[in-house]
Symmetry: C2
Subunit: 177 residues, 2 copies
């Protein structure tokens, strides 16, 4: 099986919870001795404010392409068996998972290091926007890592402001996972 | 809740599978934005030999004490919400999980780095012995990390050779997860 066949990259529609067991099962393999995972979950506070939920939007084809590129980069640095990446769109309430990564490998150091690399790269370069919904308002956020990295794998990340949309908020800070 | 209350350390009896969802659920919390996990699984080959299963034995009170000490060490280095550690005893067939770690934190770097630290320390210092069962024989193994570290948190790791037991095998190599 080609490497490419052992990557699973999915962006889930609104109100679809991430089935963690599915992705762990996907990366499980007789030749793998290690599985590392990362879940990014909505936490209840940011900067002293009560967070009710996060809401995600993405330009899906570009986000998928970008996440596949990250998987390829990970394979070029580590000896991996399988990679699974899933990201939700729409509202994600407190305690729920918005992004999940599972990586399997023969030896544990590869899975652990690649898993960290993949989430770092997703935060830094995938065009997915996040709105934080507080008890008293809401604001679009970009990841600080994204702002620090001027060139992403998919080009600049720009949130298009639509009519009735409050637009891009204060991007200097974010709810860093 | 005291830090100690948010650590769950378990050694499971023979033929009890690790319920990964249980441990992920344990570390989930509204204040946590990140959960990192690691699964050590039995892989099908070692050093060119076909592996049928691994078998684990432990001096349970000492292993539990040692794993709790590792959790405390992790908390002294990273800002963590909860830690869960589970290790199976007895036979673990190919593809099944023998050790599972879940760590939650506010920010992702803490969970990811602490998860790696905990599995590295478990491999290096917890008195759990592993027998590799091949198609044509079996051998007790110690982890190479353990042999490299002369002083463990629980003192020297010695496998007691009982009558009818083939004893400690060739310890120079191991099936590193």
């Amino acid at each position: 099986m080609a490497d490419e066949d052992r990557n699973l990259v999915e962006i889930l529609e609104e109100h679809t919870e991430i089935d963690i067991a599915k992705y762990i099962n996907y990366v499980s393999a007789p030749q793998a001795g290690a599985i590392a995972t990362f879940s990014g979950t909505t936490r209840d506070t940011f900067d002293g404010k009560t967070v009710l939920e996060l809401r995600y939007e993405a330009y899906v084809p570009m986000a998928i392409r970008c996440m596949k590129s990250i998987c390829s980069s990970a394979r070029s640095s580590w000896n991996l068996v399988s990679i699974a990446v899933a990201h939700r769109l729409g509202p994600v309430s407190v305690g729920k998972t918005s992004v999940f990564i599972a990586v399997s490998s023969v030896h544990r150091v590869d899975a652990l290091d690649a898993c960290k690399f993949v989430i770092d790269e997703i935060k830094a370069s995938v065009p997915i926007w996040k709105k934080e919904v507080y008890g008293n308002g809401e604001v679009w956020k970009e990841n600080s890592e994204f702002l620090e990295r001027r060139k992403s794998c998919c080009g600049p990340k720009v949130k298009v402001v639509e009519e009735g949309d409050s637009g891009i908020g204060n991007n200097e800070v974010n709810q860093d996972l």
